[in-house]
């Protein structure tokens, strides 16, 4: 019987070796999104946003036509939600639980397809790349904060039911990659109190009123934040990550729940992958 176990263990070890080899392997020869063969050594200058050239993973995983198709949020009109056009939602709302939001891309049909491929089809291979796409938005946020960084990263939770069905939380995965790049840790602060129906079927008013009580912070993280605030003697800066910002009600509700739980000891900045 023991020999069987040794075999099983060695198989596992081999698997791990395989995985590590995969990490060392050169960039994939085909585009992660469209699966077309990618040509190496192409000049990709000017395809990346904000004049930041350092998105090596993105450049390595996409072909130039997919890279070109990304509608980066270059122009920011609304200082609150980072939208490229004038924004009624933000001017209407006087009190806000979060500071500002910045999004990486505009949610156009192509981006909708990418997100669907990841979120609904379950192509988890895309997660690191989507995470990296959010990096410029985080840098922008940081610049607007005056160069100060965050204390930790957190994410918008999904319901238990959705988690069982999908197997992963897209916001959590993206947050994980962002945190890795920024050298921060991810803290799970929130949980969803109930399974709300699809947000996209609801009106604006419904979304805002329902979202208020949708999230709750657990005791442990509440204590964690309070203690951290006490130790550092200042408010705790938190980066909240989500995949998409539509009306901002989800971000608002999460930020609200964190503020409630921590007794106002937190400043919440929101980074979302897409702005619709």
């Amino acid at each position: 019987m023991n020999s069987g176990w040794i075999q099983l263990a060695s198989r596992l070890a081999r698997g791990l070796l395989h995985k590590s080899m995969e990490l060392l392997a050169p960039a994939p020869a085909e585009c992660l999104v469209c699966s077309k063969p990618k040509r190496a050594g192409r000049n990709r200058d000017g395809l990346l946003p904000y004049g930041y050239p350092e998105l090596p993973l993105l450049a390595a995983s996409l072909c130039s036509s997919c890279l070109k198709a990304i509608p980066w949020m270059r122009r920011i009109v609304c200082p609150v939600c980072g939208r490229g056009v004038h924004c009624d939602d933000c001017s209407r709302r006087s009190e806000r639980a979060f500071m500002i939001n910045r999004s990486a891309v505009a949610y156009n049909p192509a981006m909708r397809e990418w997100l669907a491929l990841y979120k609904y089809r379950g192509q988890e291979r895309l997660a690191p790349m989507l995470g990296e796409m959010l990096l410029p938005a985080c840098w922008l946020l940081m610049r607007q904060m005056g160069g100060k960084g965050w204390d930790f990263v957190t994410y918008v939770p999904i319901s238990e039911e959705r988690a069982m069905e999908r197997g992963f939380n897209q916001a959590e995965e993206i947050a994980g990659h962002i945190a890795g790049k920024l050298g921060l840790k991810v803290v799970r602060t929130l949980k969803r109190t109930r399974h709300a129906g699809k947000m996209s079927f609801k009106t604006r008013r419904e979304r805002i009123s329902e979202a208020k009580t949708l999230f709750k912070m657990d005791e442990q993280s509440s204590r964690y934040i309070r203690q951290m605030a006490m130790e550092r003697g200042r408010e705790i800066r938190i980066l909240l990550v989500d995949d998409i910002y539509t009306t901002g009600s989800t971000a608002e509700a999460c930020a609200y729940a964190i503020q409630e739980g921590s007794g106002g000891a937190a400043a919440i900045y929101v980074a979302t992958w897409a702005r619709s």
Partner: protein
């Protein structure tokens, strides 16, 4: 998805089983309704008696829910350990359940979930739940039993993910089935009518614990699998990227395969007929209006199918094919070889071939020692020399373009249908499937035809004829008496091991598969020529005129034409002549980007204005082909996308850059096959325009000329 493992003591000893609904198992083995359940499913009399209720003595359920893949693995490992231990001194003093608990703990430790594998004895006791005397009251609800009965019919021959099976049952039985579907499936699996496994599992779907992980649905392994953290089962769970577009197959996902039991008549009637020596092929051929060449080939295929179905029914009767969906042992070919040589007029193993086979087997024996290098060479050799059994169930119908392949399969379909069998006709191309649908419905008005492609309405229906794209075959498992694969060398089927796997598992084990092609891949041609692959060649078109042989014309490359904005006079002259004689012109180029430019160039230079370009990227492709067919467009510049499936009555074909990398022999033959397809205009013109004469062009010309020669020799030409 999660599941449980339990140990069951029966007269044969202990065995471990995985379940998705333990309460159903408890009721099945010990409950008082066990006997009643049996009546619900009247089939499979013999099996049920040995397996059901009666002889179960006691059972121990491991109460903790495990990830489904892990539950299956634990049960298999336990069983294989048990088997191993039986051969040795004795299974040891430990209680079987203790061994199970330790096994599970060890598996969890491998996942890094639990720090200490040796959990205390008391803790283990808490995980145990004993079934026995006290379980007498357990019962399967009426609802579950009813749903199981419904599911047995719906799942026949299906291979579905858990979520697909749930959708199917909820769709058929209403939303009430949402809660009892897993119970129903578990009951079916206990009754041997379905098999539940992990969608991504090692070896044979968890039957054997050995081997690397593979996707059960598409057969992919290795780099196609990716491990991620999974909320549904709580571990690092592998999913298959290769068949992601058909729904996600992962380790903790349920994979349901429903057992299809063919009607006894399928094989038996064939036996009787073979015994009586009645040959019905000639009458059938006449009834379908086949030409002599078509008829001869169809007759050969018919004989082959007859033989294979007969063999299978013998195998069934002798119990070689196990009913729970496992692969059968290959039927010893020798038993039938005598029979085969008498009845089937196909080519057979020549002396030299026999010599080769024996060399191979001795080579294999020689390489038996289990060193890494020798195993590698063994693998290499076996891939170089595909063995004879590999092709044993295949029949290649090698018919030239425009030979009328579809008509030839009608008698084959008819003969299987007449005996209550089920037929699958698969093509890699969606357009072909959609085009075949009305033709089949017209030919078999009595039969139920189900047409499957991405987005088809009939997704969950089951008919006696299933018409499907090769991608949809993933959702079938040993479901058809006869499998026909059209255009097997077309993209994406050719060169995609995933689709080959799907096509290989959708027929009943040992059942016949007929392959149709005008340009079979070279290894298949070699197998056919050497006699390893039974085949029939149809070297002539249905109108009995020879195929147009391509002319080789020297011309500059398309890139030069486009750069100089000038088409060579030879091309323009040829096109003008074609237009004058009232023919439609196909102009093939290599690149999508060249189509528009070339069309503009030709439009300027030609007397007629109706020049258009299309490609796979063109949203109006279908519309343009329609206009081309209606003579609204006279010259159509296109890529290999139109190399097959398009039949234009009076057409000429001009292939530019015929020496290009993307045009191989098969592609050139197919494109040339667009010309002269109708009986009104059988002598279409074909020309290869290229700077150089390369091997592909010459081979294509030889291929076409060779077919014409064979047709003439056999007297098929008019």
């Amino acid at each position: 998805m999660k599941g449980n493992v339990y140990l069951l003591l029966r007269q044969g000893g202990w065995e471990a089983r995985a379940t998705i609904a333990p309460e159903v198992d408890e009721a099945y083995w010990f409950g008082r309704t066990a006997a009643k359940q049996e009546e619900d499913c009247p089939s499979r009399q013999g099996r049920r008696e040995e397996s059901c209720g009666g002889d179960a003595v006691e059972a121990w359920l491991y109460k903790e829910e495990l990830p489904w893949g892990q539950a299956c693995l634990a049960a298999d490992l336990w069983n294989s350990q048990q088997r191993g231990a039986a051969g040795r001194a004795g299974p040891g003093r430990q209680h079987p359940f203790q061994r199970l608990a330790r096994l599970v703990a060890e598996l969890q430790e491998l996942d890094g979930r639990r720090q200490s594998p040796g959990i205390a004895r008391e803790a283990r006791q808490q995980l145990a739940c004993r079934w026995g005397e006290r379980s007498r009251g357990a019962a399967v609800s009426e609802e579950t039993a009813g749903l199981a009965q419904l599911a047995a019919g719906l799942l026949q021959g299906r291979a579905l993910l858990g979520c697909e099976a749930r959708d199917l049952l909820v769709g058929a039985a209403g939303p009430g089935a949402g809660s009892s579907w897993s119970g129903a499936l578990q009951l079916l699996s206990l009754l041997g009518q379905a098999r539940l496994a992990g969608a991504v599992a090692a070896g044979d779907g968890g039957r054997r614990a050995a081997g690397e992980l593979r996707c059960r649905r598409c057969g992919s392994g290795g780099v196609c699998l990716r491990r991620t953290r999974c909320y549904a089962c709580g571990r690092m769970c592998a999913y298959c990227e290769a068949c992601l577009m058909m729904g996600r197959s992962r380790e903790c996902e349920l994979f349901v395969t429903g057992v299809y039991t063919p009607s006894d008549a399928v094989g038996k009637l064939f036996c009787d007929q073979a015994r009586m020596g009645r040959s019905h092929n000639i009458s059938t051929g006449k009834a379908w209006g086949l030409s002599p060449a078509q008829e001869a080939a169809a007759a050969q295929a018919l004989h082959f199918i007859e033989l294979k179905l007969q063999q299978r029914s013998v195998m069934d009767a002798s119990g070689v094919v196990s009913t729970n969906g496992e692969q059968p042992q290959p039927c010893p070919d020798r038993d039938f070889s005598h029979d085969q040589q008498q009845t089937v007029p196909v080519r057979h193993l020549g002396q030299d071939q026999l010599l080769k086979t024996s060399t191979r087997s001795s080579l294999k024996q020689h390489l038996q020692p289990h060193s890494l290098i020798s195993r590698f060479t063994q693998k290499l050799f076996s891939s170089l020399l595909p063995n004879r059994e590999e092709w044993a169930h295949y029949f290649l119908l090698w018919a030239v373009t425009g030979a009328g392949k579809t008509e030839m399969i009608f008698p084959l379909v008819e003969t299987v249908l007449a005996r209550g069998g089920r037929v699958l006709i698969a093509s890699p191309r969606r357009d072909v499937v959609i085009e075949l649908d009305p033709r089949l419905r017209k030919a078999f008005p009595e039969a139920s035809v189900v047409t499957l492609y991405g987005g088809s309405e009939q997704r969950w229906e089951r008919g006696s004829i299933t018409l499907s794209t090769t991608h949809q075959l993933f959702r079938f498992h040993q479901a058809f008496d006869l499998v026909v694969i059209d255009e097997l060398d077309a993209f994406p089927y050719h060169g995609d091991p995933m689709l080959h796997y799907a096509a290989g598992k959708c027929g009943l084990p040992g059942g016949p598969t007929v392959l149709l092609s005008a340009t079979p891949p070279r290894e298949m041609q070699a197998a056919a020529k050497s006699g390893r692959l039974a085949h029939a060649r149809v070297p002539v078109r249905f109108h009995r005129h020879p195929l147009p042989v391509p002319r080789l014309v020297a011309s500059p490359p398309v890139a030069v034409m486009l750069a100089g904005r000038k088409a060579p006079p030879v091309l323009l002259k040829a096109l003008r002549e074609s237009i004058q004689r009232g023919a439609q012109c196909f102009v093939f180029v290599q690149r999508i980007s060249q189509t528009e430019g070339m069309a503009a160039l030709l439009a300027k230079a030609l007397p007629c204005r109706h020049v258009a370009a299309t490609s796979s990227q063109d949203p109006e492709r279908a519309e343009k082909v329609k206009r081309f067919r209606a003579c609204d467009i006279r010259v159509l510049v296109t890529t290999t996308i139109l190399e097959r499936g398009v039949t234009i009555p009076r057409s000429d074909v001009y292939i530019l850059d015929a020496d290009g990398r993307l045009f191989d022999e098969a592609s050139l033959v197919q494109m040339a096959g667009r010309a002269g397809r109708s009986a009104d205009d059988p002598f279409g013109r074909v020309a290869f325009f290229a700077k150089e004469r390369n091997e592909s062009q010459l081979r294509a010309v030889r291929h076409i000329a060779g077919m014409n020669k064979a047709a003439r020799r056999q007297g098929y030409l008019r």
